[in-house]
Amino acid sequence: MGKAVGIDLGTSTSGVAAVIDGKPTPIPGPDGRLIQASVVSFLPDGSRVVGNAAKKMMIENAENTVYSAKRLIGRKFFSAEVKKAQAVSSFKIVEGPNQSVRIRIMERDYSVPEISAMVLMEMKKIAEAYLGEEVDKAVITVPAFFNDGQRQATKDAGVIAGLNVLRIINEPTAAALAYGFGKNLSQKISIYDFGGGTFDISILEIGQDVFEVISTAGDTYLGGDDFDDRLIDYFAERFMREHEVDIRGNRKALQKLKNAAEQAKIELSTKLEVNLSIPDIMQTDSGPLSLEYTLNRNYFGQMILDLIQRTFKVCDEALQNGHLTSGDINALILVGGPTKSPIIQDAVKNYFFKDPQANIDPELVVAIGAAIQASTLTEHKPGALLLDVTPMSLGIATAGGLMDTLLERNTPIPTESSRIFTTTHDNQTAVRIKIYQGEDKFYEKNELLGEFRLAEIPPAPKGEPKVEVTFEIDANGIVNVTAKDKDTGKAQSVQLTVSGGLSKEEIARLKKEHASGEEVAAFRPGASLPE
């Protein structure tokens, strides 16, 4: 039997941790670093590189290097986020079957869960190398505000990577676990989780070994990457005013600027002013041009002020839903790389009137929490119990255009709700029902999760068949639908089509493909790269 680990699968970085001799420990990669870039670079010889090594290839191998796949996971091809990614990504994003997203690399189309699976496999490898034993089980974290499709796709990625996904847990909940595990606390805490691509706020009550999520809210379209975008636009505009060329029109130059902007952002956490210098950023008819600018922290703070304020609107919502004010909060925990910035720290401090917990590394805390949960599940005596909630309401479409809400947001999970369906004309043998997630009263404005079909209904006059359909949200936050005949109690067949998702058959096939090493044959961890 292999070992169980916790994996923080992030938008820009990922990490893996395990409980070793009773101590939750983040595990270093081949380069000695505790976090790895969530980047996969495909090389012309058919091999691929994952992690920090792959990130270095983003300029040289831009078209075949995939990053921020988490922004695309579980999304439909026509969603705003995918459109946005398509415009700014150096790799090709194409439409796959069932409105899904595919990434085209050297004439081959990869589903997003496959790319995430490659990152997960790298995490598995890192853990195996460090622990000296097989790793076959994992708890994987997702943003609290991920919907069913995004959770399902993350779980699929784990399966493709050859992992038994013990549980999908929410990042803020994992962070709370890392903070409060084994401390016997009685507190209300706030987890401010600003990741690379998503923002979540969760408010929890800890009662010794029980961790109850009181409310959660989030914005899956807001993250630290947005800071980079602001910087890129700012420097590109400045450059354009000076040289009358747009860096953003040249993929290679844009990638160089992107790397430099990210670096500048990180340096501004410790320095008050940074110099941005990219010699020969692009070639023009009149020779090579270089980019040379300085930026101070104060000005950067102004540039991203509105983005930070957007997070406080979400915090207001979470506090309100929990019938709390910021004064009720005993401890504040920051999660995610961007929260290392003093600009965010000061703003959050002012909002909560409280200093954040020191001694918690915002970049490692989620993986540590996931590792605790993984060991809790594989041991026979769990030391902590998570009581999480569903982040958005679940409902079905009604004929009038309104959404019939079955399970409200912030309902403790696991949970279920049933409805009885019937036929509208004689001898009808199938009924189609669409499921949505969201808060708008009109279903069309919410996210379509999928559609299910009640089939093989015995022929009868209209209105006579009574099929009881049960909608369950399990401990992973994933929706399951079952149906039975109300009168006979016999199970009724349900065919569920998740929009944009992979089918069971596809997942099994991909798992086999990746396990048999067809893709990983030439895998070289930490391969030396052409600089």
């Binding site: 013990l166 119990l385 255009g401 309902t411 009109f442 401990a475």
Partner: protein
């Protein structure tokens, strides 16, 4: 491994859980304070949380899951003042059996019952016609009747809210029909 006594308890609780009300599931009194309800939820979680049974056979996991889902449901309803008040009323009435499990639609019906159906006979008549039209999904007719009702009694909030809802629906329908 679970001891036999506890296994038996899981067995019997999973069988009767459908016949229990939320107070019985959380083992609290109907007069319990909010804090007691939370405490009870934590206590029951310590007994039935699925994580404690993660390595047990599927058959036991299914039973525990069933119980724990009811525990969560009980907490959700009893920790919300409006839901709790309505639930307590319903399970204390003659249709107790029917209402043991709370349905969100009940809360909606309850709010609709409280609606002000107008004071003058004319307004009452228009509002009734609007409601019938609404039920038949004839939103245009509903809108006209509601506009008439509002004209007779301009200060009736129910009329105004309903009219707004109908206008919203009509607008939404129009928006979905026009290809973007």
């Amino acid at each position: 491994m679970l001891d036999e006594k506890f296994k038996k308890e899981i067995n019997s609780v999973s069988k009767v859980v459908d016949d229990l009300d939320y107070y019985q599931i959380l083992k609290v009194d109907q007069m319990a304070f909010d804090e007691d309800i939370k405490k009870a939820y934590f206590e029951e979680s310590r007994i039935y949380h699925p994580d404690k049974f993660f390595n047990e056979p599927a058959e036991i996991q299914d039973k525990v899951n069933k119980i724990f889902k009811r525990v969560c449901e009980a907490y959700k309803v009893l920790s919300d003042q409006d839901k709790r008040a309505l639930y307590t009323k319903l399970i204390s009435g003659p249709d107790r059996k029917k209402y043991l499990r709370f349905d969100l639609r009940l809360l909606k019906t309850e709010t609709e019952k409280k609606e002000d159906e107008g004071t003058s006979p004319m307004a009452k008549k228009y509002y009734k016609m609007a409601k019938t039209a609404f039920q038949n999904k004839d939103y245009k007719a509903a809108k006209i009747n509601l506009q008439l009702a509002v004209r007779v009694e301009p200060n009736n909030q129910t009329f105004q809210d309903k009219l707004k809802e109908v206008i919203d629906i009509l607008e939404a329908k129009r928006a979905y029909k026009t290809p973007s």
